[in-house]
């Protein structure tokens, strides 16, 4: 069953009105669909009847003789030369003189015909390859878009899963006098099932020389803060730390960051500069 669009294109094609840019694609369609071929054949017959019925004028009588005369003249020079060649007896040299240019001309003609044919064949192959290339590029673009959409969906689902399975905490400076530790965002994502979390912060000053930041998880059932490891911030004040506490956490009620001297401690000894409860 042909679509209206195909019928429309077939009508325009039969009337030589299909734009050049659409002809190649339509011809490919035509090769693949016998039903479309039949339609075009019928529509061409319709076109012929329209043309023949629209005006029925007879050309002036003198036209035929002038056309036949023009054709006769176009043949004449060749006939005269042929006649001369058959009536005289040329020498071998003359024959050679005649034969060489004619042979060259024949070779050149053959070469031109072959080149033209070869060029047309290559053009057809090139057009087909271009069309295939275009189609494949389109497919790749579509697949890329689908992949991006799927990745976005996966990220969204993972994020939801993490939020549902765990805890989010926003950490803040413990007091206005806590010093320069006023990062714009400090967030902790905690996955209870996997017993791991993610600390994300920005605009945090680097720890003073000889000191280091240490993250703590406050579990009411553990009887005290549990170390989740030390960390450093990058030159731009940001950090993205995946952490695993030193023992199992039953309830991550709160998270805190202390500033320790020398290195990691089993219990916080330095000042607690940031803290926040799980939401």
């Amino acid at each position: 069953m042909l679509t209206e669009h195909q019928e429309e294109q077939a009508s325009l094609y039969a009337l030589d009105l299909l734009p050049e840019s659409e002809v190649a694609a339509f011809q490919r369609d035509l090769l693949a669909k016998p039903e479309l071929q039949q339609l075009v054949e019928d529509l061409r017959l319709c076109r012929e009847v329209v043309v023949l019925e629209s005006t029925t004028l007879r050309p002036p009588d003198h036209l035929k003789s002038s056309i036949l005369q023009a054709i006769h003249e176009s043949k004449a020079p060749l006939s005269k030369k042929t006649a001369q060649a058959t009536t005289s007896k040329p020498s071998s040299l003359t024959l050679l003189r005649l034969a060489v240019p004619w042979s060259l001309a024949a070779c050149l003609t053959l070469l031109a015909v072959w080149l033209q044919h070869e060029g047309q064949t290559r053009q057809i192959v090139l057009n087909r390859l271009n069309a295939e290339n275009l189609a494949q590029r389109k497919t790749i673009t579509e697949l890329r878009e689908k992949t991006e959409t799927l990745n976005a969906n996966i990220a969204q689902l993972e994020s939801r899963n993490l939020v549902q399975a765990g805890t989010i905490a926003q950490l803040r400076a413990t007091s206005p006098q806590a010093g320069p530790w006023t990062p714009s965002t400090v967030s902790v994502l905690w996955d209870k099932t996997r017993q791991e979390g993610l600390l994300v912060l920005s605009q945090m000053p680097a720890a003073e020389p000889g000191k280091i930041y240490q993250l703590w998880v406050i579990d009411p059932e553990a009887g005290g803060p549990i170390s989740a490891g030390t960390f450093e911030v990058q030159a731009d004040g940001s950090a993205r730390i995946l952490f695993r506490p030193s023992q199992r956490i039953r309830q991550a009620a709160q998270f805190a960051v202390s500033l320790e001297e020398g290195g990691a401690k089993e219990q916080p000894q330095g000042p607690v500069i940031l803290a926040g409860a799980g939401l």
Binding site: P19, E48, S54, T56, L68
Partner: protein, 192 residues
Amino acid sequence: MTDSTLITEADCALLERLARQDSSAMSEAYDRFSGVVYSIACRVLRPGAEAEDVVQEVFIKLWNRAAAYNRSLGTPLTWIITMSRNQAIDKLRSLQRRSAVLLEHPEDLPESAEKEETQTHAVLDDEKAALIRQALHVLPRDQKHAIELAFFSGLTQMEIAEHLKEPLGTVKARIRRGMLRLRQPLAELREA
């Protein structure tokens, strides 16, 4: 074998003789197709010297290029019609004139040209052509006009739409409906 098949085979044989540069074939080809070629030229350019030039150019082209014809181009008649239309439109563009088909009344064509009766019968005489002729006689005027403009005016789709002061979609649909209506009897004949 239908009459049109016979006609097509005879036309193919005629083209083969032209390809062999048989002068008598040119005389026969002229008698057979000159009316079609001249009619198309007049429809595009109006009767006159330019239309006669087109006839001459088409037949000289036919003489020189008959060997290039192959059946994938359609019937010999289809090929000659396309060649005539293209030659006439090229001439029209070189003259930077409007096509004769754009005249308000087609009967405005000068009366100096002699009219010939039922030219269709001479070159397309079979059952299918008769059915299409019947359908053409009852085709709505707007559809027939759109089809004639499409073929004879040398205008693009958009230019035809501007000329008719109709949206492009309407013009395309009108051409499609008209062509399918002409084709309808052929589909019915095939089903029967």
